[in-house]
């Protein structure tokens, strides 16, 4: 059920299977989450260019040029920061190049801000971790701006090969 005035960020449904819920997350613990913001220009053209280039003739952009072209729009970053301040969250860092804003707050404040519930789980191997019970919700004015929020789920993401 979507909270009023909110939309779910596509693709943020937690991956399953997950495990058995074993309890709530302490509301006062402080967490950092990374908010990924849309690029200021669509990346679809970029992929077309990368794939169409003749091998060895691929145009290369400097990091600065890439950031200016495909980084986040400063207005979008400002929107996310304003949203954060309005929900009692602090902005740890904000990167135009990486299109990300790191927000810090209590589990309670972060949960309220992003319309989700955090729980503790135990997986099939007996390890415990924290995750959201559903997708990330953002206010409609941030729909499309926010592409993901990472950090609610702290289960080990990868194994070394």
């Amino acid at each position: 059920m979507t909270p009023e005035g909110r939309v779910a960020v596509p693709g943020t449904e937690p991956a399953a299977p997950r495990g058995d819920a074993i309890g709530a997350v302490e509301p006062g613990i402080r967490l950092d989450v990374t908010v990924l913001v849309r690029p200021r220009q669509s990346l679809r053209e970029l992929d077309a260019q990368l794939n169409a280039a003749r091998p060895g003739e691929q145009p290369i952009m400097s990091r600065e040029a890439f950031a200016a072209t495909y980084g986040a729009d400063p207005d979008d970053l400002a929107r996310v920061e304003a949203f954060a301040h309005g929900h009692g969250l602090s902005v740890v860092e904000s990167s135009q190049a990486r299109r990300s804003v790191v927000l810090r707050g209590t589990a309670a404040a972060l949960s309220a801000a992003f319309g989700l519930t955090l729980r503790r789980y135990r997986d099939a191997r007996g390890a415990t971790f924290r995750a959201a019970t559903g997708p990330i919700y953002v206010p409609t004015e941030l729909a499309g701006v926010v592409q993901g929020v990472f950090g609610f789920d702290d289960r080990p993401a990868a194994r070394r090969r």
């Binding site: 970029l46 952009m61 993401a157």
Partner: protein, 535 residues
């Protein structure tokens, strides 16, 4: 150990860990937790149902909700109750009980577990460092539970059950493997065997290495490179999301970190190595990659990633975030190498949580990176006499397969059938039986795994970038366009990864093949150049 009135649970046999040293019995009062896996309520109907589903077009399929699945195919509550009763009889507590996951988690002292399951639990020193609790032979249950219990996990907690990086000493003691011929090589020797350019050092290049755990000790690196007779490379560390360079002991992720640094460093001693430490979460992984890609201080032109997970465990948002970061790398002339996995065509390590079937690894399956598969080499008189797909029964096999997430990219279409992105793209030596000599936490060790192939290729690319005078960048289209006659890749045509077979040309075990460094450089030099260097 007395097994009177008990019967073995099939498929639970454990063998001794090669070279492990016995340290005596486990303390009888130590509390441990085990997961008892229980039979499905109705096995045969599930197989038929899935088979029906598979034969229907996707849009017409009606999937079971998790609740419905648990109700129909989960464990019978009566079976769970039987296990609970058995536990109570033996003084074991039921911590968790799940019909959907068909498992009961029991907690109790080792003494009670020994009696309940008819096992001897002993303490061992692992040859790679650290201690573990081990048993030999099967797990036993009373006859009335013989059909109910299909597995018991957690009595034995040897490290080989987990990580994908393969230390030679980690190999499970399947007798044929213990007796298998083995050899080990320094990364420099592998480079020489693969014809890497000898007049390049990677000077002026920066190689980024992503680490989600572990750490390195500078003293170990100094000793290692000194012994190798190679100039010690410059190593800088970057902390992402409070990640730290935290070395501990040889059986930890330190092995991964040291392997990565030592392989890149030995191959390209003139390059600067930028090691990004992040927590092992999707947030940490995404942020570390992003940091490396957009790093305007270190400006790496190559990124090496030896961490991954089966595609199905990631959220779509995480996949998109990482793939877009790789796409950005491609646009900025940064080449990314990802290890393809060490468990063969099914990237899940065996054990609780594993899903059946073929599963490719991500991020190796991203179309904006080069997936790195593994081989096993036989060497005589300083030359490779045989090279096959890495597949050591019980000892790991190269990942590889067809992506469930990404369609086949244009530049792969001529060689990959099935409409899906094929993994891997390139390959290199990976078997621990022909593994890499490294130094980890004060000890010399032999390590394999596709973990070694990503840094091997990353180091080679630093050499190529130096010699080409411009970054290789988004390499896949270039690699797949090279004519076989160029000899840039040595095709691997023998072996399989328990799902796919090696073949002439591209295959889902070793991709285009392993490199001939000098020929690869020559072939790439022949392509038209353009002015720009990696930002």
């Amino acid at each position: 150990m007395a097994h009177a009135n008990l019967v073995p649970v099939p498929g639970t046999e454990k063998h001794p860990v090669a070279l492990a040293e016995s340290l005596g019995d486990v303390h009888p009062e130590e509390r441990i937790e085990v997961t008892v896996r229980v039979r499905a309520r109705v096995d045969t109907q599930l197989a038929a149902r899935v088979s029906d589903l598979a034969s229907q077009p996707v849009h017409a399929r009606e999937h079971l909700s998790r609740e419905a699945f648990a109700a129909q195919f989960g464990a019978d509550p009566a079976d769970l109750a039987r296990v609970a009763a058995f536990a109570q009889q033996h003084g074991l507590a039921v911590v968790d009980s799940s019909s959907a996951r068909r498992s009961v988690v029991l907690s109790g002292p080792v003494a009670a577990m020994r009696t309940a399951f008819g096992v001897d639990l002993k303490l061992f020193a692992h040859p790679g460092g650290g201690t573990f609790r081990g048993r030999e032979g099967a797990v036993y249950v009373p006859p009335e539970l013989a059909d109910v219990v299909v597995g018991v996990f957690g009595l034995d907690d040897r490290p080989a059950a987990g990580p994908h990086m393969r230390r030679l000493a980690d190999l499970d003691g399947i007798q044929s493997l213990v007796a298998a011929p083995r050899a080990s090589f320094t990364p420099s020797q592998i480079g020489a065997l693969y014809g890497f350019p000898t007049n390049a050092t990677g000077q002026g290049e920066c190689v980024a290495i992503i680490e989600l755990g572990g750490g390195f000790r500078t003293s170990d690196l100094r000793t290692y490179f000194q012994q190798l007779g190679v100039r010690m490379p410059k190593v800088v560390t970057i902390s992402v999301d409070h990640g730290r360079n935290q070395p501990t002991n040889p059986s930890s992720a330190d092995g991964e970190v040291m392997l990565d640094i030592e392989v890149v460093g030995a191959v390209a001693p003139g390059a600067t190595l930028a090691v990004y430490f992040a927590p092992n979460t999707d947030q940490g992984f995404i942020d570390a990659i992003s940091m490396a890609v957009h790093d305007t201080t270190n400006r790496p032109s190559v990124i090496s990633i030896s961490w991954g997970s089966p595609e199905v465990v990631w959220t779509q948002a995480s996949v998109m975030a990482m793939d877009q970061a790789f796409q950005a790398a491609a646009a900025m002339g940064v080449t990314v190498y990802c290890a393809a996995g060490d468990n063969g065509a099914n990237d899940f390590p065996p054990g609780p949580g594993a899903q059946p079937g073929n599963h490719a690894d991500f991020p190796a399956s991203s179309p904006h990176v080069l997936g790195c598969g593994g081989t096993n080499i036989t060497v005589a008189n300083n030359a490779i006499t045989r090279e096959v797909v890495w597949n050591d029964p019980g000892g790991g096999a190269t990942g590889g397969g067809l992506s469930a997430l990404f369609p086949v990219p244009a530049w792969q279409q001529s060689v990959v059938q099935g409409g899906k992105r094929g993994v891997p793209d390139v390959a290199g030596d990976a078997s621990p039986l022909s593994g890499y000599v490294v130094r980890v936490d004060g000890q010399q060790s032999v390590i394999g795994g596709t973990s070694a192939v990503a840094p091997l290729w990353a180091g080679l690319t630093a050499l190529l970038n130096q010699q080409l005078g411009k970054p290789l960048g988004f390499a896949a289209p270039a690699f797949y366009a090279l004519p076989p006659a160029s000899g840039a890749f040595v095709d691997i045509t023998e072996g399989n990864n328990n799902g796919f077979n090696a073949a002439v040309g591209w295959d889902a075990c070793t991709g285009l093949g392993r490199p001939d460094g000098a020929r690869l450089l020559a072939a790439l030099s022949g392509t038209p150049s353009h002015a720009a260097s990696a930002g």
